[in-house]
Amino acid sequence: MTTIRPDSCDVLIMGAGPAGLAAALAAAPTGVRIVLVDDNPAPGGQIWRDGPGVVLPAGVKRRREALLQHTNITLLSGTRVVTVPHHKVVLLEDAEQGWHLRYDKAILCTGARELLLPFPGWTLPGVTGAGGLQALIKGGLSVRGERIVVAGSGPLLLAVAATAQAAGAQVLRVAEQAPLSQVAAFTGTLLRWPSKAVQALGLVQIGYRTSSFVLAASGQGHLESVRLQQGGKTVDLACDRLACGFGLIPNTQIGQALGCVLNADQAIAVDDWQACSQPDHFAAGECTGFGGSERAWLQGQIAGLAAVGRHAQAQVLWPSRQRWDTFATVLKQHFALQDKVKQLAEPDTIVCRCEDVRYSQIADCSGWVEAKLTTRCGMGACQGRICGAATHQLFGWTSPEPRMPLSPTRISSLLQKPVKIDRSE
């Protein structure tokens, strides 16, 4: 593995989580020049995020070490794709500079972000995403002795609670919005995926409650207490942190900027080869719809092999992928959000955190465009990534099309001279 800044490659892989690592390792034996770009300080994505608060499983360490063995893989950590200036050219930016990279094939492994829904007090320091708190703890955030409430939906909540407990926190409550019948039905199906059943057993929480969701967070300058709906009653819990995530949303911005079509679930559409609508572009992992790291790993392998023409090898993996596709479907069915959870914002609740636009300011707007034009909703630094998803749940608005640059970018990066385009191709 090398770490210079290359200006061209055969296969560009965006995202170094399970899917991206699998794609790189699957494609590498052919000898093609691979560039693996990731915006975090180290590869692994969210699930295999390394840091001082982490003991990585042996299998993950092996995979990361395998990456280092390949001299034809260049890993660019702390690097973002900021614009797509030409066909098969991206502008990259790291902490020091911006530069163009030309590629022949691309594999999108851009993962998913959390669905973060507005409720009174969600902007208070001490309130984070659920996976967000897990990521912060892995990055060295100390939560020892703190009282934590985890809320939202999905199996991730239990993993977050386990991480917080292992780091010395006291988890007061895990509030799952789905009803007990759904959670029990989901748990029943886990026997079809024994590795997941074993994981689930390790995550059993005393404070787990179903049909429970956050109503409000409050405190003076910092979170002090959380009000939960718990079945038919309301409960107040004094706490130091609230980790709240309502599910996942595929990160499709770069894929859309590259011309890849989305499917009905607003994820990047792929065929059996993990190929996108745009020729020579592939996608794998949570950006194609969520289903966990096992599925992402298989999809990544298939995409990596297909991108270098090893279709026979890729096809062998289809049945395994099918098994995890079924898991993904089961997951989605059982943790569907209840309507009342989508409507927790009060009139004065901030919906757009970047521009501090409140619910009452946009509730009467006809859609995203009117809200933007009249209130600046979605026009701040996150470019609508948080409030776009929130207003989709609140009002059914269609989330904004991504615009360049895809994230806040230094002017000096945008001023980089573009690479020469060979018109003969």
Binding site: D39, N40, P41, Q46, G51, P52, V55, G78, A95, R113, E114, L116, T123, P125, G126, V127, T128, G129, G131, G132, L133, Q134, A135, L136, G139, G140, L141, S142, G221, H222, R353, C354, E355, D356, G380, A381, C382, R385, I386, P408, R410
Partner: protein, 89 residues
Amino acid sequence: MKPQPSNLFITLDSKVHPVPVGITVAAALSQCSDGTTRDSVSGERRAAFCGMGICQECRVLINGQRRLACQTLCAPGMVVLTRSGGVEP
């Protein structure tokens, strides 16, 4: 258990702090101060929220550049300014 990491020094809002090697700036802010990063447009204090480089709430000035605290590792001699350091990142 991982071995106890050694410390490095960063300057946060004009004060020098020892922090463990390998932690993010977001983790350091929580350890060395109240963890807040910026003032919102209506004057609310904010802190790291999504934890994974999406929401931009944790933006601070690091060595004069606007960076995300959750995706930046502390480095020896790093100078970090939050809004309480008198600068709007």
